[in-house]
Structure formats: structure tokens, C-alpha cells
């Protein structure tokens, strides 16, 4: 099977959907002439022309709204945010318009739109450029939220997102764009709302998503050497969340670590823990442990940044804690 980057997997997903359906277009800052701030849309302008690959001014609120308007009357926009940090300026359109249009129109106006871009921290980009927004977005009924962790999932989920008749927020990762993985040439789709068991083990579950999937898999590899076998549940979709997959895993392992990039307070992990206490209360052998970013803005200094971010040692320590090994 061909091995490609996460970046190219995303690009292939959009390209295939644009070839399949001429209502699909890509809009955002630097997507056309510059070939994408992160080169996801390399070659798109040449292939599809400037009506379908649209460079915008720096006007997040504005072009998110343009996408909403276009979606209302039948197009299928893919709106690229250079990063989700900047999408904060567009949240009115995402939350107040896209997420509610179907509901407040009594089912008349569907909103087939994708909002996508890199989410979370890269390296030393400091406070304003290093934030993970999934809990904000997942809070909103009417939105779907996906956070693929591998090239295979990125392609299959993004294609489904583009075909979905609801607004879908796609949280990518700057640090993931260069990661590689097997992606078949044949077309495939991954349904939204389905988690995947990325690793099977009986001692403890790690429930995670997005960039942290790779960390969880590394933790599983290391712990396996000590004879500790981890169930790695990759949520893939944050909303709607695959509650069954969480329950199935935790009922089997009786222990859970919830690992995410974002902050602790009202984080995605808080929701996962709630599902666990509801469905698996009698199965738990230990309190669930959460791993997340430190409760501070992201610092620039290397040492502090490392201290702030969730990482492999922290994930492993959490597993050991939940297993009462320390």
C-alpha cells in the first residue's frame, strides 16, 4: 500500500471530492496562488481554476460567512483557516450561523460546509498560536467535529465530512502534516462518529484523539515491553462521540487514561470521563486519570513549553498511576 503524508492525504481527499462534485470549492487565505500555507492545496489552482480555489483577504469572519451563504444556496464549501487560532474571529459564523441554520429554519436550510485547519501546538509558537479548540467546538449542537490522527483517517474522514450535509469542523495538526502512513489508492470513506481501536490490550484503556493518538501508540509500545497491554481508543470524531466504543474498552480493561492536547477545564476529557462514570461505574478498578495541557497560556521558552504540553512520559506516568504501579 502506498505510504503518504498526512498533508497529502488531506489534499487527496479534497481533490477527489472536487473532481467528483463541482459544487465543492476550497476557500481561505493563501490556498490558491501560494499553494496553501501548509501546502495542502498544492497544484489545486492549476487543476481547478480560481473560481474553485479562492484566495481571500485576511477576513476570517467574512469568508466563513461567505461559506455559510454559499452552503445555504447549494454549494459545498471547504473553508480553510490558516490555523484554528484565527478561526476565533469567525466563531460567530461557525456557531451562530452554520450550527443553527437547519434548526432555526425548521429543517429548510442545510449547511453542507467544512471548516478545516491546523489545531493545537506546534513548536515554540507561544501563546496565541498554540491552542486546541475541540472542546469549544464540540460544545455546540449542530456541529460535527473530527480530529484525525493518521493519514489514513485524515483522508477517509475528510471525504466523509465534505459529503456530509452538516457543518463539520476538521481539526488537523501542524505537527502531523509531515507524518506518514499507509493510504490505499482505492477510494474509501470513514464514517463520522465512529472511534477506532488502534491497539488492543487488556490492562488499561487510553482514550484519545488527534495528535495525541501517536503519543498513545508510543506509550502502548513502551508499556508492552513491561508486559502492560494498552487498549488505544482513537475517538477520531469528537462530536458525535462514539460512547459505545469507550464503554466497550473500559468495561474490558477496568482502567482508563484520557489523553488530550487541550486544557483540563471543561475539556474533551471531562466529557469522556462523564461517559465512563455513567456507563462503567461498576467496572472501574481505579479513578480515571486525565492528561492534558498545563493550565496556562503556552510559553515560548523550550523548557517551559515542554512542561506545559502533554507528552509520552506524562502519558506513561498516567497509565502507571491508574494501574497503581508507582
Amino acid at each position: 500500500m502506498p505510504v503518504i503524508t498526512y498533508r497529502d492525504a488531506l489534499g487527496a481527499a479534497i481533490r477527489e471530492e472536487m473532481q467528483r462534485d463541482d459544487r465543492v470549492f476550497l476557500m481561505g487565505e493563501e490556498v490558491a496562488v501560494y499553494q496553501g500555507a501548509y501546502k495542502v492545496s498544492k497544484g489545486f489552482l492549476q487543476e481547478f481554476g480560481e473560481m474553485r480555489v479562492v484566495d481571500t483577504p485576511i477576513t476570517e469572519l467574512g469568508f466563513a460567512g461567505v461559506g455559510v451563504g454559499a452552503a445555504m444556496v447549494g454549494l459545498r464549501p471547504v473553508i480553510e483557516f490558516m490555523t484554528w487560532n484565527f478561526a476565533l474571529l469567525a466563531l460567530d459564523q461557525v456557531v451562530n450561523a452554520a450550527a443553527k441554520m437547519l434548526y432555526m429554519s425548521g429543517g429548510q436550510y442545510k449547511m453542507p460546509i467544512v471548516f478545516r485547519g491546523p489545531n493545537g501546538a506546534a513548536l515554540q509558537l507561544s501563546a496565541q498560536h498554540s491552542q486546541a479548540w475541540e472542546s469549544w467546538l464540540a460544545h455546540i449542537p449542530g456541529l460535527k467535529v473530527i480530529a484525525p490522527g493518521t493519514p489514513y483517517d485524515a483522508k477517509g474522514l475528510l471525504k466523509s465530512a465534505i459529503r456530509d450535509d452538516n457543518p463539520v469542523c476538521v481539526l488537523e495538526g501542524e505537527m502531523l502534516y509531515n507524518t506518514k502512513g499507509e493510504v490505499p489508492d482505492e477510494e474509501y470513506l470513514i464514517p463520522l462518529g465512529k472511534a477506532e481501536l488502534k491497539r488492543e490490550g487488556e490492562h488499561c484503556s487510553i482514550i484519545t484523539h488527534g495528535k495525541m493518538v501517536l503519543v498513545a501508540l508510543q506509550a502502548a509500545d513502551q508499556l508492552a515491553k513491561e508486559g502492560i497491554n494498552i487498549d488505544v481508543v482513537d475517538l477520531r470524531t469528537i462530536r458525535p462521540m462514539d460512547v459505545e466504543a469507550i464503554g466497550e474498552s473500559v468495561k474490558k480493561t477496568n482502567r482508563a487514561v484520557v489523553l488530550e492536547e487541550g486544557w483540563e477545564m471543561c475539556g474533551v476529557g471531562a466529557q469522556v470521563v462523564d461517559y465512563i462514570q455513567r456507563d462503567c461505574f461498576d467496572y472501574l478498578d481505579a479513578p480515571v486519570v486525565r492528561v492534558h495541557q498545563a493550565d496556562t497560556p503556552m510559553p515560548y521558552a523550550k523548557g517551559l513549553e515542554k512542561a506545559a504540553k502533554p507528552d509520552l512520559p506524562k502519558a506513561i506516568a498516567a497509565v502507571r498511576k491508574v494501574m497503581y504501579l508507582d
Binding site: 461567505v66 455559510v68 425548521g106
Partner: protein, 343 residues
């Protein structure tokens, strides 16, 4: 195309009105405006009785804007507006029944009772909503203009907004893109002088707000919003330019709201004296048109009375219909959150 000084501004006067001689058309315009008026008078009553809840912003005093503007559109064009949307919805041809049932929060409302006063939507008439976030719908209008151009169509979108909208970032971002990309959008500012209790002069650095179109390289114009013919003329030019040349326009229509900001607000008070209101009410858009028609011998007292009675009956019918329309079952709560379809 660059806007020239001359086409920017055309002050209309009542002379524009007297040129309008087509009695059939005039009767249609009068009918549309009077329907909105009679309808909303009953809305106020229903609100007092608790049959309508929440925020309810009446359009009374501004009817020449909706009727004048929307009378220049084709059925396949698009319309989008703010929460002050009952008038535009009726002027666009949505049925009084569907609008009243929506206000009553009933199943047969245009949005199944999910939207209410501020969120009228109708796919049949391409009415893309009443929107509740000041400025939020303007980028959406630009997006509809983008979609029209993308498909190579010759439709236009008319986007109504209050004058307070010009101070939002969304307005600037939306008009910049519409001007930059030459989209078939007609942006109509209904300048009723106040945003709630804040006079335009206390909110905008410039007071001839159509001039803001200059920043977007957009043809711009100003007209009298109490004179339905002046509105028709100005909107007609803008629609033609949008349809034929894909050039957007910013049009400032000077009007006045005769009621409080919403049903829960005082009609006058600290922000505007009663005397000012009374002065403006002398230029009631319906009275102006009616007088013009009567003076031109196009309307007898008898005809007027008959029309009024007919419209009152239509509004009563919408009330009865709304009242007998079922309440939504609780299961409906969870419907319409997500579409269960894909392409």
C-alpha cells in the same frame, strides 16, 4: 467599475412619486404595504395577549422599503434580512398564515415554530432568514452572491440591514469581498436613525453612511425610504447593475421606525422625544402612497375601504390559522439539529 460622484447620491423628492402613474402597480404596492401594517398591528395585540413571546421587532413605518425593494426582484432572486423581518417576509410573498403561525410558535409556522419572530425562513420564496446577530447576515449575503457567480447565474441577492450594522466588522469584511470579487449583491441599509436607543450620530464617524461604499469601490446611493417610488427607482438601478454587470451596490434608505425597538421597549423616551416621532409620522409611507393615488384619481374611498377590510380579514384568517395550528410535540425538540443526509 469605479463609482463616480454623480451616481453616488440621488436625493429623491416627491416629484419622483408623482411620475408614477400605473394604477394597477400602485394598488399592488399599497396592498403589500397595508398588509404588513395590518398584520403587525395584530402582532402587537397578540404580543400583549402573550400569544407571541420573546423578542418581537415591528417594522411599522418602514413598509415602503420592503415593498419598494422586493417589488424589483424576480422570484428566483434571494432575500436576507435581520430580526426585523415580518415586513420583508410578507413583502416577499410568504403567506401571512405561515408567518403568524411561526410567531405563535406552532407547527405550521414557516420554520415549524423553531425560529420565532426573528428567524423567518422560506425556501419557496428564497427568503434566507431573519438573523439575530447584528451584522452576522451580511457576510452570508456576500456568500450567496458568490454562489450565484460561481454557478454563472443572473440572480441577485438583496440584503437588508439596520444602520447600526455599518459599524460592525462583519459589514466591512462582507462589503470588501463583494466589491473585490464583483458579486451581484444589493446591500440596503434601512437607516431608521436608531439602533435601539443609540442615534446614528452617536455611533458612526460619518453620517452619510452610504459614503462607506467608497471604501469598497462600490456604487452607492441614498434615497427616501418613506417614498415607495424612490425606493423602487434606487433599488431597480442597483438590481439591474447586479444582474447585468455583477456589480454590487450600497444603498442607504432613510426611514424611521414608528414603534419601540421591540415590543418590550418604549416607543419614545430618553433617546428620542415624542415630538420627533410625531414629526416623522407625518410622513407615513402608506399615507404618502394612498394620498398620491387618491390625488391621481387612482383610488376611491370605497376601494380603499374594501382593500382594508379584505386585508384585515386575511390577517384575521392568519391569526385563526396560527391559533388552531398544533403545538409541537416534545419529540420535535431533537429534530432539525442535524440533517441525516449526505451527498
Amino acid at each position: 467599475m469605479t463609482a463616480t460622484r454623480t451616481e453616488k447620491k440621488r436625493k429623491s423628492d416627491s416629484a419622483a412619486a408623482t411620475q408614477q402613474g400605473d394604477p394597477t402597480l400602485n394598488l399592488e404596492l399599497l396592498r403589500s404595504m397595508l398588509l404588513q401594517r395590518r398584520f403587525e398591528e395584530r402582532c402587537a395585540e397578540a404580543y400583549a395577549l402573550g400569544k407571541i413571546g420573546g423578542f418581537c421587532h415591528l417594522y411599522i413605518g418602514q413598509e415602503a422599503v420592503s415593498t419598494g425593494a422586493l417589488s424589483m426582484l424576480r422570484p428566483d432572486d434571494y432575500v436576507i434580512t435581520t430580526y426585523r423581518d415580518h415586513g420583508p417576509a410578507l413583502a416577499r410573498g410568504m403567506t401571512p398564515r405561515a408567518v403568524m403561525a411561526e410567531l405563535f410558535g406552532r407547527q405550521d409556522g414557516c420554520a415549524r415554530g423553531k425560529g420565532g419572530s426573528m428567524h423567518m425562513f422560506d425556501t419557496n420564496t428564497n427568503f434566507l432568514g431573519g438573523h439575530g446577530i447584528v451584522g452576522g447576515h451580511v457576510p452570508i449575503a456576500t456568500g450567496v452572491g458568490f454562489a450565484i457567480k460561481y454557478r454563472g447565474g443572473d440572480q441577485v441577492i438583496v440584503c437588508f440591514m439596520g444602520e447600526s450594522v455599518v459599524n460592525t466588522g462583519a459589514f466591512h469584511e462582507a462589503l470588501n469581498m463583494a466589491g473585490l470579487w464583483k458579486l451581484p449583491c444589493v446591500f440596503i441599509i434601512e437607516n431608521n436613525r436608531y439602533g435601539m436607543g443609540t442615534a446614528l450620530e452617536r455611533a458612526s464617524a460619518i453620517h452619510d453612511i452610504y459614503e462607506r461604499g467608497a471604501a469598497y469601490n462600490m456604487p452607492r446611493n441614498q434615497c427616501d425610504g418613506q417614498d415607495v417610488f424612490a425606493v423602487r427607482q434606487a433599488v431597480g438601478e442597483a438590481v439591474e447593475r447586479a444582474r447585468k454587470e455583477q456589480i454590487p451596490t450600497l444603498l442607504e434608505v432613510r426611514t424611521y421606525r414608528f414603534m419601540g425597538h421591540s415590543m418590550s421597549d418604549a416607543v419614545s423616551g430618553t433617546y428620542r422625544p415624542k415630538s420627533e416621532l410625531e414629526e416623522y409620522m407625518k410622513r407615513d409611507p402608506i399615507t404618502l402612497l394612498r394620498t398620491h393615488m387618491q390625488e391621481a384619481g387612482q383610488l376611491t374611498d370605497e376601494q380603499l375601504q374594501k382593500l382594508d377590510e379584505e386585508l384585515k380579514a386575511i390577517v384575521q384568517d392568519s391569526w385563526d390559522f396560527a391559533e388552531s395550528s398544533p403545538e409541537l410535540p416534545v419529540e420535535a425538540l431533537y429534530e432539525d439539529v442535524y440533517a441525516d443526509t449526505t451527498t
